[in-house]
Symmetry: C2
Subunit: 222 residues, 2 copies
């Protein structure tokens, strides 16, 4: 459930996980209260921005004292939906899908992948990091029956559109798409692109440029 009814700007929402990570580390160190100035210094953000971001979540600090670390963690985690973990289906139990299934951090960040799907007979029936791989044909029915609203898409690029449509058929509302293709889906469906390969392509290119900057004939990304 959404913890607070305020509108929150997208950049603010994207900064919230960083705050929680930092607050958890403070908690481990036994720190009881924290100011927006201290948060800003640690995360290299303007304290006024931090204050605004936190205000969107309904968190309340006290003048001179700041925020109680424990309370602030709870407010932010509730706002982010990390305290009521959302269930998700993952499709594509290949290299990336398996890595994501093995990444225990997802659950701490609100996402619980409860089943995986694949079309390959050799993969169906297997157990990947404790998650059962089912036949893709069963996805729409199971998603409807179990009320699963999130799909994680880690299939090859040429299968992505078709699988996404199966997800939508099953009532899935949001897709985390790791296939490097732009999906065409009804407007009400939210697609978050993973951009892993795009990030990697830019990273490698920039590195090559930096390495070859010693020679004068270096190409650059425009």
């Amino acid at each position: 459930m959404i913890g607070h009814s305020a509108k929150i700007p997208l950049p603010s929402l994207k900064r919230l996980p960083g705050y929680v990570h930092f607050l958890r580390s403070l908690k481990c160190e036994g720190v009881a209260t924290v100011s927006t100035t201290a948060i800003g210094r640690a995360l290299r953000l303007d304290p006024t921005q931090v204050r605004k971001d936190l205000a969107c979540t309904g968190a309340e600090g006290r003048p001179r004292v700041g925020y109680r670390v424990d309370d602030l963690i709870v407010v932010l985690e509730e706002f982010l939906g990390w305290r009521n973990v959302s269930e998700a289906f993952l499709v594509g139990a290949g290299h990336l899908g398996s890595a994501l299934l093995g990444y225990e951090g997802l659950r701490n960040h609100g996402l619980d992948v409860i089943a995986a799907f694949d079309s390959h007979p050799a993969k169906v029936g297997q157990d990947v990091h404790g998650v059962k791989v089912l036949d893709i044909e069963r996805l729409p029915g199971l998603a409807r029956r179990m009320g699963v609203h999130i799909g994680v898409l880690t299939v090859p690029v040429d299968a992505a559109q078709e699988v996404a449509e199966r997800m939508v058929e099953g009532g899935i509302l949001s897709i985390w798409n790791f296939a490097p293709v732009s999906l065409q889906l009804p407007e009400k469906i939210f697609v978050q692109n993973g951009e892993l390969y795009a990030q990697l392509a830019v990273l490698l290119r920039r590195t090559e440029e930096a390495v070859s900057r010693k020679t004068p004939s270096t190409p650059e990304v425009a």
Copy 2:
């Protein structure tokens, strides 16, 4: 090495991995040639855009025939640096770091993580998916000696800045940063943020909004 000396716009560069994925699937199906129209249709892109993107890489198609699939894969993979895999060091052998070390797809996309580092004594000396975990103290010296230029950062948020500085000390030029914090580093260092947690935060929020759209008092991301 960079395969071609043309400037390439960032959005074009980001689309290249998708082309390679699609071309590989064509190759598997035994398709010998492909047109920009066919690529555009499959990946839902404007064919003119596809033609421009491919031109940046030096790939040459022939009128009416299109591109030879085999040749185009080679040109794009060389351009992306996937044929001369770049070596990288990863720091932070926790959940996310381990998942990335276990993700075999990185190597197919040009990145070979040859060693991992951690500050935790319990982790140092371990073997994670075939990669040795070394003491973080050894990173700067080893990076210099081995000429490693890429660092993958998967440490907790409060350690990220310090570890990034150690990377730079070791001559690392590019950092793939998965910690939800903005790093402050010399301008010449390229930082690609992984944005995993930010993506997930947006995904969960949008899903909650969509689910609760049935009730009239629904908050929305601004």
